[in-house]
């Protein structure tokens, strides 16, 4: 009974190996370009946040915070949403007593398409309502109905990040 099974199993294994080789070859061929695409996209988002390509290229991350002279900062964070991790990038104005959020971009998410589409529209709707708020004010923004887990996760993560003590004006050369 075991005898006739060997050939089909071997054939199937050979097929698995063949498919694996094909995928590995494609992955090796495309890896460099994909990483370049991702890095470029990250830099483009950073440019939007800092306002200039020169500032974006000059960002030095210290943990998840990068201070920019004279009184700004860029923050990055990741929080578990409804469908997976939500990655965000935010620009902060350090001039007021408590740092306020000036711009926000969601760089990566796996939330339900259609329901969480507001994450892809940084300048309209709910995401825009988070602007000009400090940590305490962000925590008080109402969640989006129908996407409570998504929006709560985001306000919690942003609020915690903006309350970080590291977020003070950098010592800048005159």
């Amino acid at each position: 009974m075991a005898e006739p099974l060997i050939r089909p199993v071997l054939v199937f294994l050979a097929l698995v190996i063949g498919c694996g080789v094909l995928i590995a070859a494609t992955a090796a061929l495309t890896r460099e370009r994909i990483e370049e695409n991702r890095a470029q996209r990250f830099l483009a988002t950073l440019t939007e946040l800092t306002g200039s390509a020169a500032a974006a290229a000059d960002v030095h991350w210290n943990g998840d915070t990068a201070l920019i002279c004279p009184d700004r900062a860029v923050l990055r964070g990741r929080v578990r949403g409804y469908g997976g991790d939500i990655h965000w990038l935010a620009a902060a104005d350090l001039d007021p007593d408590a740092p306020v959020l000036t711009r926000l971009r969601i760089t990566e998410h796996q939330e339900t398409p259609g329901i969480a589409d507001f994450l892809d529209r940084p300048d309209r709707g709910w995401l825009a309502s988070l602007r000009q708020r400090d940590a305490a004010a962000i925590a008080q923004v109402d969640a989006v109905s129908g996407a409570t887990i998504t929006s709560r996760a985001l306000t919690r993560s942003l609020s915690a990040a903006f309350a970080r003590p590291a977020l003070t004006k950098p010592a800048c050369p005159p």
């Binding site: 050939r7 089909p8 054939v11 199937f12 097929l15 698995v16 498919c19 094909l22 995928i23 494609t26 992955a27 061929l29 495309t30 370009r33 994909i34 695409n37 996209r41 398409p113 259609g114």
Partner: protein
């Protein structure tokens, strides 16, 4: 639904030209067999998205049909379905990687739907009904025909939905075909006057239903002189 799923499967030999055309007309995967509707309805909100998914589906379909036809004598009967799914999944993964490398902006918009090509029953159906029983060349023609039929359905739906929903045609094609295609965009109505429902998923169902009815009406008219 009443889709005759075995159309052409048991009809023995057919001419190469007929194999090619059948995929577009007689056994069009979307309009006649109603297969692959999930990506069809989800992605067809603009021509550029539709075209990208059509190209990716075509690549997977051709790759899987040809390799399954080539391997058909070696694949044991009782593991054929896992084997087919494995082959389809391999080509889908490759298509996803290639798209992420060479059409990154479009990939960001429709990534999920390119990934689920692997579960597109249209592709598995062609593997099981056609490629696993025929030589490589007819399988290639069948794949090309079926892919063309799927592409036509996608593009028709994409064009109607883009025109109604956003008031444009061919917008954003430069994301896929290079900067020269950026000028092809046609603005039909002023910005912001689109019919929102056409761009949203419910509109996809409505418009697909209407196009399907139109296709049936044309077929019925032809049949009854």
């Amino acid at each position: 639904m009443g889709a005759p799923s075995s159309v052409g499967a048991a009809s023995g030999r057919e001419l190469p030209r007929n194999t090619l055309l059948a995929g577009i007309t007689r056994r069009n995967p979307a309009w006649v067999q109603l297969l692959g509707l999930c990506p069809l309805l989800a992605v067809s909100n603009s021509v550029v998205n539709a075209l990208a998914l059509a190209l990716a589906s075509a690549a997977v379909l051709v790759g899987s049909n040809v390799s399954i036809a080539a391997l058909r004598r070696f694949i044991p009967e009782f593991v054929r379905l896992p084997a087919f799914v494995l082959v389809v999944a391999t080509f889908t993964t490759c298509a996803v990687l290639l798209m992420e490398a060479y059409a990154f902006d479009v990939y960001l918009r429709i990534a999920l739907f390119v990934q689920i090509i692997v579960t597109n029953c249209m592709i598995l159906a062609r593997a099981e009904q056609f490629a696993s029983r025929r030589p490589v060349l007819p399988s290639l023609l069948d794949a090309l025909g079926t892919a063309a039929g799927f592409a036509l359905a996608l593009l028709a739906l994409g064009a109607v939905r883009e025109a109604l929903g956003q008031g444009t045609l061919l917008a954003g094609l430069d994301l896929l075909l290079g900067p020269a295609a950026g000028d092809w965009a046609i603005r039909l109505t002023p910005d912001g006057t689109g019919l929102l429902i056409a761009a949203l998923p419910p509109g996809a169902f409505l418009i697909a239903g209407l196009l399907l009815a139109l296709g049936n009406a044309i077929r019925n008219r032809r049949r009854s002189p």
